[in-house]
């Protein structure tokens, strides 16, 4: 898997004045192999927009994004996405939600059970197959969303602040679970978060973005051993480094 983002720009027009607001400015990034890449940046810097561009839900004004050499045009099952508010289909049971990608692809109903059973087990929801989303807690819903994304067998999974609406304990648990799930299902993950600690805990790579318009400020590879200890000296040192980058004012963008 190779994701290549080259020189993309994105502007939005603001409604009242018709002025163009520049969200992303000449951003390039390459992601290769099954690694977990965390994008951190100040609030409203355009990191979610970047994710939506990779997903194909929006188009860049210029520049292009390629997956394995193929320029993307629009959303596709090879780029799965996980949303902060879970975005589960409320009329479908856990089982049916996870099956969605297979159903879309035309896999006959009798052949879907094997894949989904394995994934539902992997995310720790065995026994909850026939529940509906409103009967589950936030953490459980996000597990369903992860299983649903994995079932479509994407090349890369884009996660947009997936644990931001969970309380801190559930959030810790979900971070841990995500790493465990990824050990089984080797996938490329692009993980957007505004939490430096989350990025340092999860990431094989941590990419720091500038304030709007977003550009890449720093790109680190983390070789801290796992499981990572947030009290470990190197962990703290690295957190401090990234926090320092975020707090330092950005050079004025051209």
């Amino acid at each position: 898997m190779k994701l290549r983002i080259s020189h993309i720009e994105k502007t939005y027009s603001t409604n009242e004045t018709g002025r163009r607001l520049r969200i992303i400015n000449d951003l390039s990034l390459e992601i290769e192999g099954s690694e977990l890449v965390c994008l951190v940046g100040p609030s409203g810097c355009g990191k979610s927009t970047l994710l939506r561009l990779i997903a194909g839900l929006e188009q860049p004004d210029s520049g292009d994004i390629q997956v394995d050499g193929q320029p993307i045009d629009g959303p596709h099952a090879d780029r799965g996405m996980i949303f902060q508010d879970y975005a589960l289909f409320p009329w479908r049971s856990v089982q049916k939600n996870v099956e969605f990608g297979l159903e879309i692809r035309g896999v006959p109903a009798r052949d879907r059970g094997g894949v989904t059973a394995k994934l539902i087990h992997m995310v720790g929801l065995a026994g909850f197959e026939n529940r509906f989303p409103h009967q589950l807690s936030g953490g459980m819903r996000q597990r369903v969303a992860i299983a649903r994304a994995l079932a479509a067998d994407p090349k890369v999974i884009l996660m947009d602040e997936p644990f931001a609406s969970l309380d801190s304990q559930v959030r810790k648990q979900m971070q841990h679970e995500l790493l465990r799930i990824l050990q089984e299902a080797r996938k490329t993950i692009v993980f957007v978060t505004h939490s430096v600690e989350e990025a340092v805990y999860l990431g094989d790579r941590v990419v720091v973005l500038t304030g709007r318009p977003a550009r890449i400020k720093a790109d680190y590879r983390l070789d801290l051993p796992r499981p990572r200890d947030p009290l470990d000296e190197r962990f703290i040192a690295f957190r401090r480094l990234v926090l320092g980058l975020l707090e330092r004012p950005d050079p004025v963008a051209g």
Partner: protein, 316 residues
């Protein structure tokens, strides 16, 4: 700010023990009143008390009605006139028995039912189609909007004279009036439902590989079902009101006709029995059919608070 460190991860506060909220016992348990109080409290806890209360209310009302009818509303009117002014519940019950043995009563019911179902189905098809058109095309919206604005406030009854001129006194006039009367709730519910389809669900389906057509079938349609249930429910009610009006004014068959017939021949008991029949039929369709559908699909709507919460957090 940024994030909690492990140090600040607080234990959740222990929940306060649930305190039972029983009303204080005023009467000693040994006394009959005390015993009744205990029974009542048990019933309250099981939710039966509310049902019992409603049942007692209906029984009480029926007894009061019977008494009022037998005494000429407590001596205000001559008792002889009561058969015309206020037939007693017993008389109405007897009339029901009499009506059930006549095929005419059933045929009037079936006539009205047929008209409502026919008109309602037409209204549903037209309402949903027009709603889809309006939401999917700005041109269609601009063309149809003025007529919707203008016609929607006109109650179905107001179409009766015109319908009779156009279609004569019969099924077709009744069905026309029902259709026009029942159209609006379905139309407006369709428009609102389509406009409220959760964009996140559409995006999720897109990133799972769904085509436009699949999104329509698997996201849009189920999303608007709860809205349609509400719309159909209201449309059905509007349809009944319209058919009764039509049948009372000119179309000489159906339950509305029976209402005026009872008055015309001095048989107020028939009018009352018909009113009870109408109430029962509407209650059955509303509570049992639409009520059940509503409960089944109520969780299909996105929770408003949840969406707001998510939006707040994105904004922060």
């Amino acid at each position: 700010m940024l994030d909690q460190t492990p140090f600040t991860t607080a234990e959740p506060a222990p929940k306060a023990p649930a305190t039972p909220t029983l009303p204080p016992r005023v009467w000693p348990i040994g006394s009959p009143v005390g015993a009744l109080t205990v029974i009542w409290q048990r019933a309250s806890r099981n939710g039966e008390a509310r049902f019992i209360r409603s049942l007692l209310s209906v029984i009480g009302f029926t007894l009061f009605w019977q008494l009022a009818s037998n005494t000429g509303v407590f001596g205000i009117f001559p008792v002889d006139a009561m058969n015309l002014f206020l037939p007693s519940p017993l008389t109405v019950a007897r009339t029901f028995k009499e009506l059930f043995t006549q095929s005419q009563y059933l045929s009037h019911i079936l006539t009205s039912l047929y008209r409502v179902m026919f008109g309602f189905s037409l209204a549903a098809v037209i309402g949903v189609t027009a709603g889809v058109l309006i939401v999917s095309s700005k041109v269609a919206e601009d063309i149809l909007q003025p007529f919707i604005r203008l016609l929607q406030p006109i109650p179905g009854v107001a179409w009766v004279p015109l319908a009779i001129v156009w279609f004569g006194l019969g099924d077709r006039a009744a069905i026309f009036i029902i259709t026009v009367g029942a159209l609006w709730p379905t139309l407006l519910a369709t428009i609102q439902g389509l406009r409220e389809v959760d964009h996140n669900l559409v995006n999720a389906a897109l990133t799972l590989g769904a085509t436009r057509r699949q999104i329509f079938e698997k996201v849009t349609v189920p999303s608007i079902v709860p809205h349609l249930v509400t719309g159909f429910r209201l449309s059905m009610g509007f349809g009944w009101r319209a058919v009764l009006a039509a049948e009372m004014v000119g179309v000489s068959s159906g339950l509305g006709y029976m209402l005026t017939l009872g008055r015309g021949v001095g048989r107020t008991d028939i009018t009352l029995a018909t009113m009870v029949s109408i109430g029962c039929i509407m209650l059955i369709t509303d509570a049992f059919i639409f009520g059940t559908l509503d409960r089944k699909t109520s969780n299909w709507r996105p929770k408003r608070e949840e969406r707001r919460k998510a939006n707040d957090e994105i904004a922060n």
